[in-house]
Subunit: 513 residues, 2 copies
Amino acid sequence: MTSGSAVPLNYTSLKKKFEPFLSRRVENRFLKSFWDASELSDDVIELAGGMPNEKFFPVESIDLKISKIPFNNNPKWHDSFTTAHLDLESPGELPIARSLQYAETKGLPPLLRFVKDMVARINRPLFSDEAESNWDVILSGGSNDSMFKVFETICDESTTVMIEEFTFTPAMSNVEATGAKVVPIKMSLTFDRDSQGIDVDYLTQLLDNWSTGPYKHLNKPKVLYTIATGQNPTGMSLPQWKREKIYQLAQRHDFLIVEDDPYGYLYFPSFNPENPLENPYYSSNLTTERYLNDFLIKSFLTLDTDARVIRLETFSKIFAPGLRLSFIIANKFILEKILNLADITTRAPSGTSQAIVYSTIKAMAESNMPSSLSLKEAMFESWIQWIMQIASKYNHRKNLTLKALYETESYQAGQFTVMEPSAGMFIIIKINWGNFGKPDDLPQQMDLLDKCLVKNGVKLVLGYKMAVCLNYSKENSDFLRLTIAYAKDDFQLIEASKRIGSGIKEFFENYKD
Amino acid sequence: MTSGSAVPLNYTSLKKKFEPFLSRRVENRFLKSFWDASELSDDVIELAGGMPNEKFFPVESIDLKISKIPFNNNPKWHDSFTTAHLDLESPGELPIARSLQYAETKGLPPLLRFVKDMVARINRPLFSDEAESNWDVILSGGSNDSMFKVFETICDESTTVMIEEFTFTPAMSNVEATGAKVVPIKMSLTFDRDSQGIDVDYLTQLLDNWSTGPYKHLNKPKVLYTIATGQNPTGMSLPQWKREKIYQLAQRHDFLIVEDDPYGYLYFPSFNPENPLENPYYSSNLTTERYLNDFLIKSFLTLDTDARVIRLETFSKIFAPGLRLSFIIANKFILEKILNLADITTRAPSGTSQAIVYSTIKAMAESNMPSSLSLKEAMFESWIQWIMQIASKYNHRKNLTLKALYETESYQAGQFTVMEPSAGMFIIIKINWGNFGKPDDLPQQMDLLDKCLVKNGVKLVLGYKMAVCLNYSKENSDFLRLTIAYAKDDFQLIEASKRIGSGIKEFFENYKD
């Protein structure tokens, strides 16, 4: 452990330390329950809780066909599919009599245990005690729901929140809905993995001189919201040294770090221009252990001596978004307040979604793994293997797209730079204005570029539309975001890349006039 | 149309009329989206939205086994089961490529259309125009989530909300989380169906004399929250004449009515002491039409000339609670504000839950219905038939329980009265203190009674724990709530009723001392 936590972090000390971070509205939030089933012996007939008997449910059983390989088009590969059967009594630890019933707000225990175990193994909070008792995980209804619950718990009209200058803008909506104010943080937009992302010198200056700086009319920030890995929209990841610096700033200026990480598992090894389609994920000696240790970028949790990090993960990108299933990791005191909010608002996320995720991972484990492994171990291993397959596909798509972009006439004429991403689902393309110089009416010019691109048959996102504050980021906002996630196949990505090339080329042809 | 709406209720007039009802915080809520896919032609490759391709989803298909009869224990009755198959491409209108994907916050279109059609047929808002364009329905993540969204949209620290003096207490938590204040409304606790529920004279007096009354320190109420049918905990339903009076009061004092209706489909015909197990649901001439017209109690929507009613329904009691799936019906302006909140918080409810509900109802329709009916018509008919089966089971359980309670020694000694419920999942038992007179320490005595009941092997809910304000309702809170929903079979309900009898008897044996 490093500085700042001589006191052991148990519930009492966490409460003392983090109570001042709570929103004014937290005190109004507590569930008025009117009975308690916990203390009854088995022979007592319980006519208290208003739960329907499970035999009132019209669904008797659910059978899932599960693909062990993404983009699994060959139904003849029997080995590449497996199945899961759920009914009122099975699987024993999570039958549909349980998952279709009212359930614990924090999530169904078997899935919750799986998730907490996964976090403990991949990104164990540095402040955690031996019993793993001062931190916890709760399930939530998608990352947007998680964000909302976190910000509602810590923000009100008096709060200032720092956000990377380009971001997933609905996060801002969430912060601003609480009445809090958002301050943009400068980023280094570069493909150099050792210097990309939040500009740490800027951040230091800003915080050290807050009272005389541009935001002196606002309270000092209580929170930094960051998509630290595979950032949206930039695809950049904070290098370890920046994470350490930022954490030290969080200690010095006492702010929380909300680390939103929907894309982190999709890590991209560096692009090899000599062999563009080289894909280290295909290497036969890439074990899950190597993927976890050498590929994945570690969470801020692993630096967190003080319990000031709140991490958000989701099943949306590695399973499916329609599940509306995500999870929140934080110290036990803050998480309890977030759970209080869930208790009186959404309650638990969908039990059907939870059952489907749990059963899918379990079925993968049972069909893949040597019987020498425990079920717990096998579930972890096979889930990570699934994630690696997803990541390998994304890495392939990224390579393919970079290659195709680099082959365009427009690129070769120096009209744009590609910010090779280090993780995630996005690639950004920065426009090079060359001899013309940067236009004064940059957003208008980018709108014209967008028209040219659509005319050439491709739709991207304009960088300036993802700026926290357009005035602040105008100079840097001459980029386009493309996603490699949705295209139906390689051919479509190659075709789209060509169209991007011709769209930019056409734009510059007219721009000259 | 009656008084108060000479102006046609379109979006503009609704906005003018209902803007003053919005919470102060509504103005902070809007989604900052950064692209718009709506205007693209088919040949444009869309690399904008960050949606994963559906072939990244590990689930290839979902097969449901669906019971057409609740408590369907005989797997040999082949006719009583049906199946539904969902995969990436089917059913065409809602394949899992769609339901497992990011989707519209308001709900997936096929299910939403089904629900709106159902509401239009059963409880069409009186203010609706011919095109059904000034009201709408959105799906939500369970009634608790609906409540939260409604109260967050209309309540803040300045708001007063009226609630029946006994209620589902988590509703209060929801109101109070916004900072609003709750005022209890007196109820007539009686099994007389023509006078049960909210005390309308009391309500009239209270509102007409607000400025000199007991709550004059609070703002005049902006909302009445009511569980008007099969109320929780009382099982009572507001008779039509009371609904009309309350609606007139809402017009005179300009408040909204939030009608929470999780139990309304579970209508109970009157108990027949001559033939306790008589169950009109078993009658062969009970058509869906008769059930809808003669049994179901109509929503406040059907009285709503002014668009001031917000109705909440849920799939929890008639399908399954673990789905976390419900819906909200309101005028288009207010509903838009509720949807804005959903956009930046939960977004859509679980797509897997939506797909399961839609496919189940469709499968029931396809297997039950004569082919002369359109799919839309068949889905409506078979869903109502399913609901009627659920209601028939609840009615049977209610009859059985009343009969068993009436047969107890304790009842026959006059120690309690049963408030025969008119709908829902609950029965309340009122204690008769007889010669002893009502105790001064009523809650303490009820706690002792609870101990006696548990000792006799049955757990109920104590009425006083569901009081909005115990001081206000002390005199009336000497009742117990039991649910007929969860017991595993008839025998358990009969046994529980006997235990209730012996528990109360034992309590009075000691009470004498």
